[in-house]
């Protein structure tokens, strides 16, 4: 869907590509209308890649019902915002982090890497594939009326209820991962206060995400510099 994503037409060409088999059937025997339909949909369009299936189904239905060019254009304009923000909010900001944090927590608790990885891929992609299938079917069934359905997007309702779990797993995964890092450094239990203090960095980071995001990378890059200085100070390795 996003193979031809570009800064001008965004996901428009991808949606058109996905619609080609449907358009060929709908406008079979009428190459002029088929060409006009393809050209119509190559324009700019924005959507989350999974929820673009809603657009594919709904726009194909409107083509099937012989909607006017103007009506399709207005529908595309109305749909692009909700499909983008709904997908970003539900899938990138909620569903994916939830599944990832679940896998990281499993790994931190001692599960094998294979099990943890498979758990993430299985759970995440059940939701992923479901969204695409649901989106296409509802888009085709409801056509121009699909906008109302997006207000009751089932995955959004699920993730809205599950956000406490995501936050809980975020805290758990951070401590488990911190502990793994401490073990890798071969440190002992007195590192616990150190970890608690380090963990408190997350609180102001929530308030000033950009500054603390840059701080995080700065800290990472500073580690080898400090190591070098320590080595020089102690007379070299």
């Amino acid at each position: 869907m996003q193979s031809l994503w570009n800064y001008k037409t965004l996901i428009g060409p991808g949606v058109t590509y996905a619609m080609l088999p449907l358009l060929r059937r709908i406008h079979a025997g009428d190459p002029v209308r088929f060409e006009a339909a393809v050209r119509r949909h190559l324009g700019s369009f924005n959507s989350h890649p999974y929820l673009a299936a809603v657009a594919v189904g709904a726009l194909a239905r409107m083509e099937f019902e012989d909607a006017s060019d103007e009506e399709i254009r207005r529908f595309r304009t109305a749909l692009r915002g909700p499909l983008g923000t709904l997908g970003d909010r539900t899938i990138w900001a909620e569903w994916r982090p939830l599944c990832l944090l679940l896998a990281i927590t499993l790994f931190g608790l001692g599960a094998s890497p294979l099990l943890s990885a498979l758990a993430f891929l299985l759970i995440y992609n059940v939701g992923h594939v479901w969204v695409r299938v649901w989106g296409f079917r509802r888009g085709w069934e409801h056509g121009r009326g699909v906008g109302r359905l997006l207000k009751e997007f089932p995955l959004e309702r699920l993730t809205e209820r599950l956000w406490p779990v995501t936050m809980f797993l975020l805290g758990a995964a951070t401590v488990l991962l911190g502990r793994a890092v401490v073990e890798t450094a071969g440190r002992s239990a007195e590192s616990l206060p150190l970890l608690l203090v380090a963990g408190l960095t997350a609180v102001p980071a929530f308030r000033w995400p950009n500054r603390f995001g840059r701080l995080a990378i700065g800290l990472l890059l500073s580690i080898p510099i400090i190591w070098t200085l320590l080595a020089v100070a102690s007379g070299g390795p």
């Binding site: 060409e35 393809v38 190559l42 891929l121 758990a172 929530f206 500073s222 080595a231």
Partner: protein, 234 residues
Amino acid sequence: MPLSEFSLNPGFWWLIVGIGGLLALDGVSFPQTMVSRPLISATLGGALMGRPGGGMLVGAVLELLSMRHPPYGAAKYPDTGPAGLVAGAAYAAVGGASIQALVAVLIGGWATGWAGSYSGHFRRKLNGEFVADPAHLAARSQRLEYRVGGALAIDFARGALITAGFLVPVALLAGLAAATPLTGGGAAFGAAALVTAISASIGAGARTTAPDVRAWAMVLLGALLVIATLWRPL
């Protein structure tokens, strides 16, 4: 592992480069099943080198470090597929058990990810040229299909090139780091700085997930529960 012992079979190098290309495809173009997430790609890299656990540790840290870069719209974000693969493979290749190597592959992986991101930016601009003439594409719809195939091939090649360019340097960097002993409080500082970096990243990244500041009560609960029930002296 001493730097002098590091070697990579050429056939194996091509395999990893090819996988890097496929992971780059999964990130944006097809099929977006999220095998390109660092948690998975780094585990895969580690598994290819015989240490999936080491790979997953690298992937988990990279995952939390990249939390504040969600792929909204035209935003730039690290190309995590090749980045995770390179970092996980490099960490496992040098033994997967030192804080020095961990820091080195995290830095190498981060650099790989952002190099991939900037190459993706150019790919997006190139895609714009592919579809610049809708009338021409609409006149014969197979042209759109060929463009999609071409775009997929370019994305694969891009990911493979990024993997090829960074795999050996990051592995050598990790080997050099692992072979360098730490003095003074180096290990303690490294662990503390890395944990602080992770905490800062998740705090910043949680802004994209947390509905409001009350979410922090759940974060604290999760952290305290783990500390209270599972913590034991190392």
